[in-house]
Amino acid sequence: MSSDFERELRDAREALPLPDESSTQRARHRAIGSLRRKRRRTRALVVVGAMLVSAVALGVTAGSLNAPSVTAAREPAVLGFVPEPGWFALQSPPPAIEGQQTVAVAANVPFAADDVEDGLVEPSGLPYSTLLTLPPDGIVIVSTMSPLSLPHVAPVPSTPDYPSIELPLRLRDALPVLRWGAQVRPDQPMAQYHLRGHLRGYNVDVIAYFGTPRPSAALMRQAQRQLSGFVVRSEGVDARSRPAAITAPVEPLAVIDRTFACNTVLLGGLSQVEVRAHAGDRRSGQWVKLPYAGVSTGGNAGRLDTSVPPGSALAWITAGPPAPSTNVDDEYDSFSVHSGGTLGRNTELCRPSTARVQLSRAGLRGGVVPVEARAVDCDAPRRVLIRLRATALGSAALRERGRIFVATGTPLSRAELAVRTPNGKLLVYAAVDQSGRSRQYTAPRGCVREP
C-alpha cells in the first residue's frame, strides 16, 4: 500500500505544466544576454584596470573614474503596452520627479540586452541597439507621455500639434514623418510613423519604427494590433481642470490571466456552453452597457439575485469604466457591473487549472458583434477549460461576489476569453475593448447561433 501510494505521489509530477511561450522567450533573452553582459563587464574591468594603473601612474584620483549608476524602482508607471502574442514590452522607471516623461516600448523582436536595464527600458527611452539590428519584418513602437501641466506650474497651452485623441490609438492617424527626429539607421532606412495627441491630460508621442522603408499592409496591421494594446493606467485627467489628480496616487496596471476547468450542466439532455457577447453602448460620455462577453451553461431558471450574473454563468469579461448604473447582457441575463464585477467566474462550477488554453480565434467563425447580445450554443463535454486574460487599471484581485462568484470590480482596458475542450478543441474566443468593440468567434461545427 505504502509503495503504491508513494508511486502515485511520484507519478503526479507528470501532471506539471510546461512554461508558456512568452516567459520562455523572456527568460531566453535575459539568460543569454547575461552571458554577453558578463563578457562585456570582464572586458570593461580589464580596461578600467588598465586605466586605473595609468591614472595612478599619472597621479589622477580613482574617484574621477566613477560612473553614474541607475537604480530602477519597481513602482507603477503611467502607461504601458500589453504585449500581443510574440511581442515584448518594457516600461521606463516611474518618474523620479513630478512632471517627468514616462516611456513605454513594444517590439515584435526581443530587445537587445543594451536596451534593458533591470527589466525596464534603458533610461534614454530609445531602444537604440534593437533599432539598429531591426530585421525587415521587425517593428518597434516607442511611446512617450508627458504631463501637460502640473498643479504648481502654469499650464502649458495646448497646441494644434497635439489634437485630442482617444484609445485605442490608430496608426492611420500617424504621419510617416518625424518632425524632430532623423533616420536612426540611415544606411538601412526604416519607415517611421509619428502619432501625436493629447490624451487624458498628457501629451503623447508615439513613434512606430519598421525594419523596412516600405512596410507591408500585414506589417501595418500587426503594428496596429499592438498599438491597440496601449493602455493608460488611470482615468487621466487634465491637470488644468483637476490638478489634484496628477499627484493623487494611482493604481498600477495589472494583468489578470487565469484558466479554469469548469463543469458543464446538462439541459434537456444536452451538455452545452452558451457564449453571449455584445458591444458597448455609451451615451453622454457614460457607459449604459459595457462591451461584454460571457460563457454560461445549463439554464438560469429561478434567478433570485439580479445584482450578480445568473447562476448559469461560468465566466465573463467586460472593458471600460462602469458607472453605478452600467449593466451588461440583455433582459433576463442582465446584471449590474457595479455589483457583479467587471470580470469574474463561477466558484461552484469552475476551479483553477494550469492547463494551457490558447487565446486564439484560429479555425473559428465570427467577428464584431452589435450592441444587442448575440448568443451562440456550443456542444461541449462535461468539462471545459476557460481562460480569461485582461488588463486591469488597478488591483487584479478577485473577491467574492454573491454566493457563487469571485470577481473584480476594477475597470479593464481590454479582455479576452477562450474556451476549449480537454481534448484541445477550441470552442469559443471573445475579446472586448474599452473602445466599445466586442468580438465573438465560435467553432464552425457544433455551435449554433440562437435565433
Binding site: R10, E14, R26, S34, R399, V406
Partner: protein
Amino acid sequence: MRRRPDTELVVLAREGSAEAAGALFDRYWALAWRTTYAVTADRGLADDAGQEAFVKAFAALGRFDEAQPFAPWLKRIAINAAVDSLRRSRRLEVVSDDESAFHTWALGESAEDDLRRWAVADAVAALGTGKRVVVVLHYWLDLPLEEIAGVLGLPIGTVASRLARAKDELRTVLEEDRVV
C-alpha cells in the same frame, strides 16, 4: 545535425558562445521551469525563478565540473532559486488573491491515469506551503531528506516529520476521494 553533448556546449558557452548558451537553454528550460513551478506553485514566481536559475548557472559556468552531468546541477540551482523566491515573496508579503493555489491538469486529461495524477497533484497543492515544498522536493524532485534539510535550512528531524504528516494528510484526502 549532430546533437552536441552538454559538456561541449558548456565549454563553448563558457567562452561566450551565445549559440551554445541558447542550445543549453532550449534543452533545459522546461526542466528548470517545471522545477521552479513545482516548488513555488505560482507561474509568475516560476518564470522569475527559472530565469534567475539560468542567469546564475551561466554566471557560474566557470565553476561547473564538466565530469558531472549538467541537468542535476542546473536543477539544484533552480531549486535554490525557487526556494529563495518563495521566501522573498512571503517576506515581502506579496498580495495574492484566493486563486493562487497550485492546481494542475495534464494535457492528456481524458486518460484515467492523467485524471488520477491531476487529483494527486491537486491534493499536493492543497497542502500548506511548508508541507507541500517538502513533498515536492522529495517525491517530484528526488531530493533525499538530508538535502532537503540543507536547502530549507531545517533540522532533518523537522523535514522527516513534516513529510510524514504531509503523507498522512494526502493519504486521507485521496482515500476519501477514492483516488488511491
